[in-house]
């Protein structure tokens, strides 16, 4: 692994650990601590990818998450992550990476033919070509899609686990560079609970890019000491965790890599963790991102950001080239060049676009002593194809050339304001640095360090410390903090040169956004064509719309637009910053919420008993209820009918535990109920119950159920399963918001009680035998007994139309009670029945159902329940019923339907003929239990006046229809003789 590109010593590497990896089928080795990019550079690889549109050869240009070019598919099979920035993957054994967007190979890419037609495919070309006819678009689109796109996603299911974690803290610090560490130190010492979030594998940030000294130690040693102190003070340090989203009220989301992309975990351990951090105050220390320069062919492999060249040398012990030319326009870039030279990197020339008067004299003198320097020098064109071979330069108007195999460029530094802007902050334009920096904040946050536009290590450390202290004090933490960390060096970034390219630059190959192949010529084209707003420029040219979100390119593009418009960048404005700051995988966001954990499954108390029979399940909200208990080779429809017949002719047992149930007690219980329910309640005698229904304020039916008087001031109210949660909220609303003066309490006992219905002509004998001879209650009465030693409340109510009893027992004790009732029912020739039979029975009986006929649009009159309305009024919905629309004779009204043909499709429209407009719809349909024929229930305009009419029940979606006659909905035992005493 030694070679011209690996420096003999230095770097934050473990040179004793060699790590083998593969790129495009070739094997290489790197060291522990290398990224994929640094290891490839060390191995002399320069060609990393092909560009999106023109398939131009590309190399890596950065050393961080802002990388636009060096994207690879990393990982094998189901673990492959496409578009992985090679600068953001640390080497692991067996790493397997492939380059993207090239065929057949990176070296010989037939897509490069696109460069021949480049004049015809500038930005936005597809808006002007492919105009018609529309049918051909489908043809063009097929080819465009095949050519466009980056990377290929895996086709297999994701095999990995993803974890989540929540954290609350007083202060969250984003970024562990000098500013972040300093601020975290102050806040932690003051006594605040601090969370520190850093995307790199190590703390230190920019301190890892060059040699420095803090508090008398090397930068690396100082960082180690700070980490130890923070840990001891209980600071929660999240490493390899990139904060990607800043949401309302100081909520930060961070994606933490527990394994590198594509790396198989140990024993099913999670590969990533999504952190949700809620902080009282946020300190943003995200640093600044360097920007490149625009010149012809500035995208050739070997052109890199100057800071990246410095980082590769300092942190990774890698020389980006063997003869490097630096072309910059800030003092910071000069220092980087000098630092690289000191590490043994061969720099042949240092160019600065500024005039000597604007360059720091000390640095310039030092540079002149070591290497050829030129001021007022702007790059014009990079020579070379698959790699840089030289650089043509404009020096005060004269053209000269240098031989080089790498060009380190520096156009300036852009404070990374992404999270600040996501949090609704504002920006100030700094003319000297030609960049935006944070001004006011909308949330409780503050920016520090380079991310706030502060430069000079001493200043950064001091101001960040002061901010951390101020934030802690504002929260009431005031333990003594000592002094800020101190660095002798306070050199500033210096005056930054402008955005103007040298006059002889060919704008068509001066790339601004390399990932989307957007050039200066494209930006000028957009301007000429009238796309004047920054939003239009962005969408028309796709500048900044690739996976890097334009981190290195947006400001250059904005400056070009400003020049064309003869305005300043702040007058132009910026596009919106949106999360995520870096691409995040869907697996991270989904986390555990899949498979068993996709949605919480609510199990009724008798779930295990039902599951033993392996029934088909019906989802009802988050509940699962058995549809039927199939016998061998029985279809669901046949089972439903058999079970319904069993109830009509013998006895059936079913689980109705999911119904809503409320215990309402206190002296004002009846008064309370007569507000919630639209029927009378107060007249109930102790030990008696009745059917009831509840309205919304607008007068329409909300739910129905039963109410039972258990004792003088104690009632039990039941409601539908689907409406149970709604009813709980509604009752609480009445109790706490409308009538807090009432002396009443409402207990939600939905899950406290299991409820088992026993229905059929033999139900009474089953119940009495189970209760050891205690008499069963009369119809609409209740009794108390013991079944299998368990206290039971028995309510005599019928939903099926047969004599029936609902047995209420405490949910944890229901198992033996169900088993006993089922055994007795079976011995009498009956058995268990499920939702299919329940539905058939209630259709035949003509009971309305919440979710079916009670659909939020029907009134008591519509449903035929008006006689039960409390004549005194005062219930919720009473006033709403006074609305004029309730008088409309054409309202949808509850009717029965008798088929003149075959089955009546549910959901079908009730019409005069097929295709005619609907006069109503079918809410339910089934076979009759004991006679032949098909019936249904429905809602029909003016239905109650139309008994005897013939209509067509017609369903376009089910492609089925049946002629029906409108009849009374009560098909079975209209007088209730089956269950009355």
């Amino acid at each position: 692994m030694s070679g011209p590109y690996r420096l003999a010593e230095g770097g934050r590497l473990d040179r004793t650990t060699a790590i083998p990896f593969q790129f495009d089928g070739k094997s290489y080795r790197g060291f522990a601590g290398d990224t994929l990019a640094s290891a490839l550079l060390a191995n002399g690889v320069r060609l990393f990818g092909r560009s999106f549109k023109y398939h131009r050869p590309r190399g890596v240009i950065t050393s961080g998450v802002e990388e636009p070019n060096a994207l690879a598919g990393v990982g094998l099979g189901a673990r492959r992550e496409p578009n992985t920035r090679m600068t953001d993957v640390f080497l692991y054994e067996g790493l397997h990476a492939v380059s993207q967007n090239r065929w057949p190979s990176l070296d010989l890419d037939l897509g490069a033919a696109n460069q021949l037609i480049a004049p015809f495919i500038p930005a936005g070309f597809y808006y002007k070509t492919f105009l018609g006819p529309p049918k051909l678009w489908m043809v063009y689109e097929h080819f465009i899609r095949a050519m466009a796109g980056l990377g290929a996603p895996p086709t297999e299911a994701d095999p990995d686990n993803y974890a989540r974690a929540s954290r609350h803290c007083d202060v969250a610090v984003v970024g562990a560079g000098p500013a972040g560490l300093s601020a975290a130190l102050a806040a932690a010492r003051a006594g605040a609970r601090v969370v520190l979030i850093e995307g790199d594998a190590h703390l230190g940030g920019a301190l890892q890019a060059e040699a420095c000294h803090i508090d008398g130690q090397s930068g690396v040693d100082w960082v180690a000491g700070v980490q130890a102190e923070l840990t001891e003070r209980g600071v929660h340090i999240l490493k390899r965790a990139t904060a990607f989203g800043y949401y309302d009220h100081n909520m930060l989301y961070a994606a933490q890599r527990l394994c590198e992309p594509g790396q198989p975990p140990q024993d099913g351990a999670p590969v990533q963790r999504l952190w949700k951090v809620r902080a009282k105050r946020v300190i943003l220390a995200q640093g600044a991102i360097e920007r490149p320069l625009a010149f012809s062919d500035n995208d050739r492999p070997g052109v890199m950001l100057s800071g990246a060249v410095g980082t590769y040398a300092h942190r990774y012990g890698v020389a980006a080239g063997t003869e490097i030319v630096f072309a910059g326009q800030t003092d910071a870039a000069l220092r980087t060049a000098l630092g690289a030279i000191d590490l043994g990197v061969k720099v042949t020339a240092i160019l600065d676009a500024r005039s000597e008067a604007d360059i720091d004299p000390g640095l310039w003198t030092m540079a002149k002593a070591k290497v050829k320097t030129l001021a007022e020098a702007k790059p014009v064109r990079a020579r070379g194809g698959k790699g840089v071979e030289g650089l043509e330069v404009d020096v005060s108007g004269r053209l000269t050339a240098f031989s080089a195999d790498a060009i380190a460029v520096n156009g300036g530094y852009t404070p990374s304001v992404h999270l600040h802007m996501q949090a609704g902050g504002g920006l100030d334009w700094r003319a000297d640095e030609s960049a935006f920096a944070p001004s006011h904040a909308a949330q409780d946050q503050i920016s520090v360090g380079a991310g706030a536009g502060v430069s000079g290590l001493r200043s950064v450390l001091q101001t960040a410390f002061d901010s951390g202290l101020a934030v802690a004090l504002a929260l009431g933490f005031d333990l003594p903090c000592g002094k800020a960390p101190y660095a002798e060096d306070d050199a500033r970034a210096g005056l930054t040169g402008d955005f103007l390219p040298a006059p002889s630059v060919n704008l068509k190959t001066a790339f601004v956004d390399p990932q989307n192949d957007v050039t200066l010529a494209d930006l000028d084209l957009a301007w000429r064509e009238g796309y004047r707003s920054v939003e239009h420029m962005k969408r028309y040219t796709t500048l900044g719309m690739a996976t890097d979100q334009g981190k290195t390119s947006n400001l250059i593009g904005l400056a070009r637009l400003a020049k064309n418009a003869a305005k300043t960048p702040p007058e132009i404005g910026l596009t919106t910053f949106r999360p995520p700051f870096i691409p995040v995988t869907l697996g991270l966001l989904v986390g555990d919420d899949r498979g068993f954990h996709a949605a919480p499954l609510r199990r009724p108390p008798l779930y295990d008993a039902h599951a033993a029979a392996n029934p088909p399940w019906q989802p009802v909200g988050y509940w699962r209820r058995p549809r039927a208990y199939l016998q061998p080779s029985e279809t669901l429809a046949a089972a439903g009918l058999r079970e319904a017949r069993m109830v009509r002719q013998c006895v059936g047992v079913t689980d109705v535990s999911t119904l809503g149930k409320f215990e309402i007690s206190g002296p004002d219980a009846a008064k309370f109920l007569e507000i919630a329910c639209a029927t009378t309640v107060a007249k109930l005698a102790i030990g008696r119950g009745r059917y009831t229904f509840m309205l919304r304020e607008d007068g329409l039916c909300n739910d129905d159920g039963t109410v039972w008087r258990l004792a003088e001031h104690r009632y039990l109210l039941t409601s539908s399963t689907g409406g149970a949660d709604r009813m709980a909220q509604h009752l609480s609303y009445i109790r706490n918001v409308l009538r807090p003066d009432l002396r009443v309490g409402v207990a939600n006992v939905q899950e406290h009680f299991a409820a088992i219905a026993v229905a059929g002509p033999n139900a009474k004998s089953v119940i009495e035998a189970a209760c050891e001879g205690a008499p069963a209650p009369r119809h609409m009465g209740l009794s108390r007994a013991k079944i299998q030693g368990t206290d039971a409340l028995i309510l005599a109510a019928s939903y099926s139309g047969e004599r029936a009893f609902e047995v209420y027992v405490r949910s944890g004790e229901a198992g033996p009670v169900w088993a006993d009732l089922l055994k007795r029912a079976t011995s009498e020739g009956g058995g268990a029945y499920g939702l299919e039979a329940l539905e058939i029975l209630r259709i035949e009986k003509g009971h309305v159902e919440t979710g079916g006929e009670i659909d939020g649009r029907t009134s008591a009159w519509d449903l035929g329940l008006e006689k039960m309305l409390n004549p005194v009024g005062g219930y919720i919905g009473a006033a709403g019923q006074g609305r004029a629309a309730f008088e409309d004779p054409n309202r949808l009204q509850f009717v029965g339907l008798k088929s003149l043909e075959g089955p009546i499709p549910e959901g079908a429209a009730l019409t005069a003929k097929a295709g005619a407009s609907a006069q109503g719809h079918v809410t339910a349909g089934s076979l009759r239990t004991l006679e032949p024929g098909f019936i249904g229930l429905g809602l029909l305009a003016a239905g109650r006046t139309r008994l005897g009419d013939t209509l067509l029940a017609w369903s376009a979606t089910r492609r089925a229809s049946a002629r029906v006659e409108v009849v009374s909905p009560h098909f079975y035992d209209g007088e209730g003789a089956r269950y009355r005493d």
Partner: protein, 85 residues
């Protein structure tokens, strides 16, 4: 992910709360139809502070009114409703 300061539980994430209605839509059961309709269906819908009734349904289940700025999501003036504190 908004944060609401429950008068009993302190600051909690929006996930735990259920929005019920704007305060102007709280109607009395014995209101006359005209008043009811006005309260239920006429909304000022301002871009700015909105007085609303919320419930901490997945926390302490208490009711509260608060003022939420519909433009900035700032939440203030949280007052408990019903029951002695």
């Amino acid at each position: 992910m908004m944060l609401i300061t429950c008068p009993h539980c302190g600051p909690r994430a929006l996930d735990e709360f259920v929005f019920d209605r704007p305060v102007e839509a709280i109607t009395a059961p014995d209101a006359d139809t005209q008043t009811l309709v006005a309260q239920l269906y006429k909304r000022t819908n301002a871009r700015g502070p909105s007085r609303e009734l919320w419930r901490h349904s997945l926390g302490c289940r208490s009711w509260m009114t608060l003022v939420r700025d519909t433009a900035t999501h700032q939440i203030c003036d949280v007052e408990p409703v019903g029951g002695a504190r």
